[in-house]
Symmetry: C2
Subunit: 153 residues, 2 copies
């Protein structure tokens, strides 16, 4: 998808992994859980993601530079009359691009893709500490209607 | 999976749909969004779910009777060093079985299956109004660390 601003949103490839993992790690929470010096586990995961038609790992590219990434997952279900929902995970925007409107365009892209797949619901969870992100999602029309529970295994 | 209590947890089939949809609708939130008199959309959704190796819609059966349902989804990802997480959705326990320990066994089953799939994280969201459910998940070790955002399309 080509944007008038010179922004392209396209599927991530293995060549994008150094930039993607650098963004995952350049984050107060991600810093402790990523390994930018060892890309092998990310390459294995990207291969599995690329083979799965319900998974869409994308990058936002400006010029030649990867400036954002997110993962959009389509999840069919029985509830709500057999509706499909989408889940947005792993949203990262390059530090240089924060405040540029890229985050808004990126989430709008994910919402548009979800509509195209006939999803009735888009959902995401955000760590309670990310209060700026919460205001951002509320501005985009998301409702903080749920508590997100996690269990580390 | 056979439990000593006479409980079996197994994949849902089309024959289970009347019981499953009745449980989805027998709920303060579900009552307004389900259609137990029209099973066709549920049958279509179950077919898609059954064909997807990352989706596991299961029922808990006691004797011949379906007494619970949940959906377990395995979601590979790039973050956390390419880790896979599982998502639990659509948990319903028959009204007659509430307080029987079935909910606990059911979530423990989902956590065990997630471990078998090498998931590093199990997650779920629960409507902010379901405060009893929140205490239940916290007792099982889940942390309410996230805000769950939804956007209806």
């Amino acid at each position: 998808m080509n944007e008038p601003s010179g922004l392209t949103i396209r599927p991530a490839t293995e060549a994008d992994l150094p930039a993607i993992v650098a963004m995952l790690a350049d984050d107060p929470l991600g810093a402790t859980r990523e390994s930018p010096d060892d890309l092998a586990p990310y390459a294995r995961a990207l291969k599995r993601l690329t083979e799965d038609p319900h998974q869409h790992v994308v990058v936002a590219v400006r010029g030649e530079r990867v400036v954002g990434t997110l993962q959009l997952t389509f999840v069919p279900g029985l509830s709500r009359r057999g509706s499909t929902r989408s889940i947005i995970e792993g949203v990262r925007i390059h530090a240089d691009e924060r405040g540029s409107g890229l985050g808004t365009r990126f989430i709008e892209w994910a919402v548009d893709r979800s509509r195209e797949e006939n999803c009735q619901l888009v959902q995401l969870t955000s760590d309670v500490s990310r209060t700026d992100a919460h205001r951002f999602y509320e501005r985009l029309g998301f409702t903080p209607s749920h508590v997100g529970f996690k269990l580390q295994l």
